[in-house]
């Protein structure tokens, strides 16, 4: 136990641990966890100690010895039944209290729509007219009313440090209160088995200052930058003439596909491929060369691009800040 707890604290510093919450909902859930842990740890110690004591203390010294035959004790049985029931009633009361306090977002919440896809996340800000993917940028301290749904199978949206998960179910809109009270990047990923790359459906929430958020919003609302460098211009041509255009949208260009992530500002994201890879030219090239080598089952096919085309596309996409 001690070793385990040591390991836990050792590792927890880098983990998206539910015990290091940075949101009101996450804190309420962690507090309730701690409350139940206190009760169950007590019960655990008492029950295991009684069991161990009974097993050790009453070991037969004489294998033929017959102990007194006790068949039961009504008073004893009634009392442990009552104590158990009371303990559970307390846990339920705390459960109800926490649930009521956290299940609905506050009234002034900013609406955000989360749509799960096999295997990436689409994020829409309906009031701001922004669509992005896999990285959700939010102002610190601002409650969000997150509507969670899915485009295909069931997924589950979960950022552990920001509170409990919510399933993303097609044709259903579930509402979740999301909020981050400290600046930082919070890791999350899909929590419902959704196919071959369930493990590769990761996301990040960037909680930034209000000013930084406003700047980000302004940048995101602008149409895509026109490529200036020759290589990037060549990449633009490749993008618009190959299959890319059928699935991806880049605002301000003919590309208006809705199947894959919106790439209007893909260069501004820190990761690509649903959070699997850091957004570097090398990784982008790897991804474009053979998506399903990185994300098994990926719906983006291997396009058979030449190394030159890949270099050009990387230059173009990286320029879309």
């Amino acid at each position: 136990m001690g070793v385990m707890l040591g390991l836990l604290t050792g590792c927890a510093a880098q983990s998206p641990s539910i015990l290091r919450p940075v949101s009101p909902k996450g804190r309420a859930e962690a507090d309730l966890f701690g409350f139940i842990l206190a009760i169950t740890a007590f019960v655990f110690i008492v029950v295991e100690a009684l069991l161990l004591y009974a097993v050790v203390r009453f070991r037969a010294r004489d294998p033929r010895a017959i102990p007194p035959q006790i068949h039961g004790n009504r008073a004893l049985e009634a009392s442990w039944t009552t104590v158990t029931a009371l303990g559970l009633a307390v846990i339920f009361a705390m459960t109800w209290r926490t649930m009521a306090a956290t299940s609905t977002p506050p009234a002034d919440a900013l609406p955000v729509k989360v749509i799960g896809h096999q295997w990436w996340w689409e994020f829409q800000y309906p009031t701001l007219g922004i669509t992005t993917a896999n990285e959700l940028v939010i102002p610190v301290g601002q409650p969000l009313r997150v509507t969670v749904t899915s485009a295909d199978v069931i997924h589950s949206f979960w950022v552990p440090q920001l509170g409990g998960k919510m399933d993303a179910i097609p044709r259903r809109e579930n509402v979740l209160w999301l909020q981050a009270d400290a600046e930082g990047t919070y890791y999350g990923q899909c929590a419902e088995l959704c196919g071959a790359s369930h493990a590769n459906m990761r996301l990040r929430v960037h909680a930034v200052s209000r000013e930084a958020f406003d700047r980000w919003v302004e940048a995101q609302r602008a149409p895509a930058a026109s490529p200036t460098e020759p290589l990037a211009q060549q990449g633009y041509q490749v993008f618009m003439s190959k299959a890319c255009v059928g699935c991806h949208a880049i605002d301000g260009t003919p590309a208006q596909g809705k199947v894959g992530p919106d790439l209007t500002h893909v260069g501004s994201r820190t990761t690509i491929a649903a959070g699997l890879l850091e957004n570097t030219p090398e990784n982008m090239a790897r991804w474009l060369d053979n998506p399903s080598a990185i994300k098994p089952g990926s719906l983006m096919p291997r396009l058979g691009l030449t190394p030159q085309e890949i270099q050009a596309l990387v230059a173009y996409l990286s320029s879309l800040k």
Partner: protein, 626 residues
């Protein structure tokens, strides 16, 4: 006296393959269940090791994407439907008729049909690996991932039909258990004296009868969705994927109790015998099983707290789920009180049964976190849940099953399992189990979702995952020792007497192994511990009865020399249950592979059914010559 000898009912071959293929003897059927479950446990265990190997280090590439999902799905499906359920059905089949003083199950041929359906259904399910890919949507098969659009291969169809075949097996065996326990008890064996393993088997049989139709219907609808274009679970056409979840968990949660209640029954038999005391609070232990059974049908949506149900609905299922803890706690306290003040013998069955209590408590307590809606929002679908249910199903059911096998092995085979190997097995299984599954609680809290085939480095999950993998291999080693012990003891184990543990219940009054007819003369029961009463007298301070050994003779041995013996009718062996089961399996194969198997299966089915009903139950009368 010799003139009044009953003709021993040697109505069928007692050796050879055919005798097993045509057996209707509940004891042989029980053995077939247990051997079948043991075989599938090897497969399910190897799948578990593959999973742990893949997860040992981040970004490992042993079992990637689709392949991982197949192994994950088959591990869960195998352990639930092909290991835990059938081994419990097997122990129940072998032991319960003996415990209640019956000659056989109520419907011997239906019983044989059940075991063949299980074995063939299990083989059918595993054939999917060879015929185009195993099912890959998890043992819970959430829609719409199981829809044709997202799962084109035949894996899901194998899963649907395999579970249907296994469901037929479970339902027929449950009908048999209910009838047997309610109707075939020895004189004087009132329900109030029924051994607790028989009690839990009875409750479990009812749970199966009420729960199984829900998944059968759901699987049928899913099959229609996949092949006939219906849209029951297809949201794009107005169907509802949550309907699947309700139907599945209305079965799925009682299923949890189906797997744990008989295990609790085993523990309720083993602990008293090895403490040399009666169970503490028999009535409470018996009726808490009934309570768990009832409440078990009102908690299913606690698997669905994150699907967006209204608060009030979540609160109801939260409260009901917590309520299950009351009868469960009653059992735990009663078990400890049973050991308390006893004269405890540390034999292998006791070690595993006591470990069951210790580990099941952990699984029960972690369940409270999952019953609490806001905590569940965080920990559901994480490794915390994986830890939780392995503490109940492995630390719980599997430890109790192993206890039961060490306990009844001498009765079944006439030989003891080796005690020293048993202790080694216990040490490896206990350490390996905890090393594998305890760290998973922390992994879940640290944000690791379940069912992922890989994870990134740097999230703090590495060391605990490696630890869990090391534990899994220690655990596997424990089972290697177990299988070696079984194999060795079958050949060269120490001979066991009829009543090796100073037992309490009727099975210890007959020979080891028992004769085909179990008891030459059906015993009459006067208390909850009929076997004990023949050996000890006085309460609360018993002393041995003067001539204890002879007390066994009239019941267990052959009826020779017993003028009161009645003629024994044993049902004739029959091949037709196997043919009927084979017909259904071949038919199912036709639905997922080549159509030619469909008429072939139907033909076999018709043949089996026709011959079954034509064959008389008793081949010829075996009258006593008196």
């Amino acid at each position: 006296m010799a003139s009044s000898t009953v003709a021993l009912p040697r109505v069928y071959a007692e050796r050879g393959l055919l005798s097993w293929l045509t057996t209707v003897d509940h004891k042989r059927i029980g053995i077939l269940y247990i051997l079948g479950a043991g075989f599938f446990a090897l497969i399910g265990g190897l799948e578990a090791l593959l999973i742990r190997t893949q997860l040992a280090i981040p970004n490992h590439r042993v079992l990637v994407g689709e392949a991982y999902n197949q192994v994950l799905t088959m591990h869960g499906t195998t352990m639930v439907f092909l290991v835990v359920m059938p081994v419990l059905a097997g122990l129940g089949n072998y032991v319960v008729p003996l415990m209640i003083g019956a000659r056989d199950m109520a419907y011997p041929r239906l019983n044989a049909f059940g075991v063949w359906m299980f074995l063939l259904g299990g083989i059918f399910l595993n054939l999917s690996f060879l015929l185009g890919g195993a099912p890959d949507a998890g043992w819970f098969g959430y829609a719409p991932l199981t829809a044709k659009a997202f799962s084109k291969g035949a894996g899901i169809d194998f899963w649907i039909l395999g579970l249907q075949l296994l469901g037929i097996s479970s339902i027929t065996s449950s009908i048999n258990f209910v009838s047997t326990i309610l109707l075939l008890r020895a004189p004087g064996l009132t329900l109030n004296r029924l051994p607790l393993f028989a009690w839990t088997t009875l409750v479990t049989a009812f749970l199966i009868l009420f729960a199984m139709p829900s998944i059968s219907a759901a699987l049928f609808l899913l099959f229609l969705d996949r092949h006939l274009g219906t849209h029951f679970f297809n949201p794009a056409a107005g169907g509802d994927p949550l309907l699947w979840q309700h139907l599945f968990w209305f079965f799925g949660h009682p299923e949890v109790y189906i797997m744990i209640l008989p295990a609790m029954g085993i523990v309720s038999e083993v602990l008293p015998v090895f403490s040399r005391k009666p169970i503490f609070g028999y009535t409470a232990v018996a009726y808490s099983s009934v309570a768990i059974g009832f409440i078990g049908f009102t908690v299913w949506a606690h698997h669905m707290f994150a699907v967006g149900l209204p608060d009030v609905v979540n609160a109801f299922f939260s409260a009901a789920s917590m309520l299950v803890a009351v009868p469960t706690a009653i059992k735990v306290f009663n078990w400890i009180a049973t050991i308390w003040g006893g004269s405890v013998r540390y034999r292998a069955p006791f070690l595993f049964a006591a470990a069951f209590v210790a580990l099941f408590v952990i699984g029960g307590l972690s369940g409270l976190f999952l019953a609490s809606v806001p905590v569940d929002w965080q920990v559901t679908d994480t490794y915390f849940v994986v830890a939780h249910f392995h503490y109940t199903l492995f630390g719980g059911s599997m430890f109790a099953i192993v206890a039961g096998i060490y306990y009844w092995f001498p009765k079944i085979t006439g030989r003891f399992l080796d005690e020293r190997l048993g202790r080694l097995h216990f040490a490896l299984q206990f350490i390996g189990f905890n090393l594998t599954f305890f760290p998973m609680h922390f992994l879940g809290l640290m944000g690791m979702p379940r069912r992922i085939y890989t994870y990134a480095a740097g999230l703090g999950w590495e060391s605990l995952n490696l630890l869990a993998t090391i534990g899994a291999f220690i655990l596997a080693l424990g089972f290697v020792v177990f299988f070696v012990n079984i194999a060795r003891s079958l050949v060269a184990g120490e001979r066991a007497p009829d009543d090796p543990w100073d037992g309490h219940t009727l099975e210890w009054l007959t020979s080891s192994p028992p004769p085909p007819y179990n008891f030459a003369r059906v015993p009459v029961v006067h208390s909850r511990r009929p076997a004990w009463d023949r050996k000890y007298t006085g309460n609360p301070h018993p002393r041995p009865v003067a001539e204890a050994p002879t007390a066994q003779a009239p019941v267990g041995d052959g009826p020779e020399g017993d003028s009161e013996a009645e003629p024994i009718h044993l049902p004739a062996p029959s091949l037709w249950p196997l043919i009927l089961a084979a017909g259904l399996t071949v038919f199912a194969l036709g639905l997922v592979t080549h159509w030619i198997f469909i008429p072939l299966g139907l033909l076999l089915f018709a043949l089996g059914l026709a011959r079954w009903v034509q064959q008389p139950l008793f081949p010829e009368t075996h009258e006593a010559s008196s």
